[in-house]
């Protein structure tokens, strides 16, 4: 805790005590006025005891539900309520029940209760932290013990230990991703070279099979690499880009594939540019993956609709195909790792990382990616699948990368990665 904060809290407590004294004084005055009024009688002892007990016990019913600060506020409010209640009873019913017992009990209960709660929490956290450290030690990754600061209370030491462990975990996470990128990248190159060499042979059934295997391995290495890149991408390096041009370019890129499957694209793109802030490479691949997915699940001669719409704050890209649609139980899992909407007749060339990549990329861009089935009008027969990507529009005028974007929420520290 900072020195400044301590001073602040001490001052606040002091002021609170003063207020209490003043109000006690004030209450005593009212009290004497009420009691001097001969018509007010003291309540029988049993009633006072019973009420005091009930009033003292009541706060425990909501204590455990509130945060410490809220509990504190509620206790203050409760004391005021109890005093007002007892005074009102004295005023209206001419029966005086002394509030001192109840108030003292409540005032004592709060620190007792909160200290026991803090102790329990602390013990549990210490235990969890110790377990984590033991686990890391068992994996042979002991932390370097730092020399403690000279002025450090146990609380600060605890926080420092926690921060250190968190950093350690973050480092491990980063090194795991780095290793994965390194392996994927270095496996990719020889695979690519092997595929080029394979072109030297006269195609026969073995070389064709071998090419398929190599391509699958290559796609998988590429998929891992891209997903890791998407996760590591730095939002502060994003640039302003036009989603319409980007989508057109994706379509140009798959033109030949569309021609071989005789698939028609129905494009509904706005005439103006649609600016968003993002990473061109990642968004290009994300849109490409969604379109390729639509193509691979579309029958020969099908039509795929590509629609870009926008309102004041967001743009959305819809890709609607005429494929078999997605089984209901697969919809939720589709953007997860290694998932495919498997169905009998579809080619299984994908490695299941394509849409996972889309999910990560769009999340990084503060957008949403979702999928659903399109039904035939008026029936429950599935007509195809619809992929929907939304992204926030860029409203700044310049094209410089932002140095610090307040709208970007901090990344969750230990997001599960591949």
């Amino acid at each position: 805790m900072q020195f400044k904060d301590r001073i602040l809290i001490m001052t606040a407590l002091g002021l609170f005590a003063c207020l209490l004294v003043i109000s006690v004084d004030f209450n005593a005055h009212i009290f004497s006025v009420i009691v001097d009024n001969k018509s007010v009688e003291h309540a029988p002892t049993w009633l006072t005891c019973l009420l005091t007990f009930i009033l003292a016990v009541l706060p425990f019913f909501w204590f455990s539900k509130f945060s410490p600060f809220r509990s504190f506020l509620s206790i203050c409010a409760y004391i005021i309520a109890v005093v007002s209640l007892l005074f009102s009873v004295a005023y209206f019913y001419k029966v005086w029940i002394p509030p001192t017992g109840a108030i003292l009990a409540i005032l004592l209960a709060y620190p007792l209760w909160s200290s026991s709660k803090v102790n329990a929490t602390q013990a549990a956290l210490d235990q969890a932290l110790q377990n984590l450290q033991d686990e890391l030690a068992r994996l042979g990754m002991e932390q370097v013990a730092e020399s403690p600061h000279s002025v450090e209370d146990p609380q600060q030491a605890r926080i420092r230990k926690l921060a250190l462990t968190a950093k350690h975990l973050r480092d491990m996470h980063k090194s795991r991703t780095d290793t994965l990128v390194f392996i994927s990248h270095d496996i990719r190159s020889p695979l690519g070279a092997a595929m080029l060499l394979l072109d030297k042979f006269e195609p026969n059934k073995y070389s064709v099979r071998m090419r398929q295997l190599l391509e699958r391995a290559h796609t998988m290495a590429e998929g891992f690499l891209q997903a890791s890149r998407a996760e590591m991408s730095d939002v502060n390096k994003f640039h302003v880009l036009d989603m319409v041009s980007l989508t057109q370019q994706v379509v140009d890129d798959i033109y030949e594939l569309l021609a071989t499957k005789n698939i028609t694209l129905e494009m509904h793109l706005p005439e103006d540019n649609v600016w968003v802030r993002g990473d061109f490479g990642l968004l290009f691949r994300a849109v490409s993956n969604v379109l390729l997915n639509a193509v691979s699940y579309s029958p020969q001669g099908a039509v795929i609709k590509v629609i870009i719409d926008k309102d004041d704050v967001t743009m959305c890209l819809k890709v609607i195909d005429q494929g078999p649609g997605i089984p209901e139980d697969k919809i939720q899992k589709l953007f997860k790792r290694f998932s495919r909407a498997e169905s009998e007749q579809q080619d299984q060339s994908g490695c299941g990382l394509g849409l996972y990549f889309v999910g990560i990329t769009i999340r990084k861009h503060r957008g949403t990616a979702s999928v659903g089935n399109v039904n035939m009008p008026g029936t429950i027969n599935i007509q195809g699948a619809e992929f929907l990507i939304t992204l926030p529009l860029e409203r700044r005028k310049n094209n410089l990368p932002v140095t610090y974007d307040r709208r970007v929420k901090p990344e969750p520290t230990f997001e599960d990665t591949i």
């Binding site: 990248h185 190159s189 020889p190 690519g192 070279a193 595929m195 080029l196 060499l197 890149r229 640039h239 302003v240 880009l241 036009d242 319409v244 041009s245 980007l246 057109q248 370019q249 140009d252 033109y255 030949e256 005439e271 540019n273 600016w275 990473d279 061109f280 490479g281 310049n398 094209n399």
Partner: protein, 228 residues
């Protein structure tokens, strides 16, 4: 035509040499930067292909040491293992003319090589009427047309279109386009290039259906190619 290939990855270099020789280029292969820098003053090369990472130095360092010895360098293509934006930016910043991501296909490598050689050896053409595929450009009247139909292009769009056509297949960096077409410093508003390029794509129908492919390379540069 003679090409210098500087690459220590023998498996890949062998394939590349074969492709280039099949396309009737002569190829000198070097495994280290130093070998190449020693040999370079005594030979004439029409084009160089450098691997980015070499055992003794990095590709861009080789280029810098060449620049110290000669005023004019032949067109230069970098081979990179990565295809990320930062890698492409590095290539452009280093002053290379183009890049090829390893392992590239035969078609892509030869397309890049041919595009650069075509630009390097192009003769000034004073004919005001130029034809690129089915597109016709009249530089005197500043008109672009296809099949007798005129396109309504603004001045800058016309300049940009003509520049793209004249440099078919070549990587044109955004800052280069800003300088050539707008005569402007590349730091000022760069959305301008994107907007003009997207207009051109729509107006001149630069799509694969019409035999063209206009690619933005991470918005750092553009390339106009013929599509098969």
């Amino acid at each position: 035509m003679k090409i210098a290939l500087l690459d220590d990855d023998l498996a890949y270099a062998e394939i590349v040499i074969e492709w280039l020789e099949e396309a009737s280029f002569k190829v000198d292969h070097f495994k280290t930067g130093l070998d190449f820098v020693r040999k370079y003053p005594h030979e004439h090369y029409d084009l160089c292909i450098f691997d980015w990472g070499l055992p003794d130095m990095e590709g861009p360092d080789v280029m810098v040491s060449l620049k110290l010895r000669a005023n004019k360098l032949p067109p230069l293509i970098f081979l990179t293992g990565h295809s990320e934006e930062q890698d492409i930016v590095r290539v452009i910043d280093a002053g290379a003319d183009d890049y090829v991501v390893k392992p590239a296909s035969r078609a892509i490598l030869l397309a890049r090589v041919n595009a650069l050689l075509r630009r390097a050896n192009s003769q000034p053409n004073n004919d005001p009427c130029l034809e690129f595929g089915s597109l016709k450009f009249d530089t005197k009247l500043r008109l672009a047309s296809m099949g007798g139909e005129d396109f309504k292009l603004t001045d800058k769009e016309f300049d940009l279109a003509l520049y793209f056509m004249k440099n078919e297949g070549v990587l044109l960096s955004r800052s280069h386009l800003m300088q050539v077409v707008w005569g402007a410093s590349p730091d000022i508003e760069t959305r301008k290039v994107d907007v003009h390029v997207s207009h051109l794509r729509t107006k001149l129908k630069l799509t694969p259906e019409h035999g063209w492919k206009l690619t933005s390379i991470y918005q750092q540069g553009y390339r106009l190619e013929r599509s098969n």
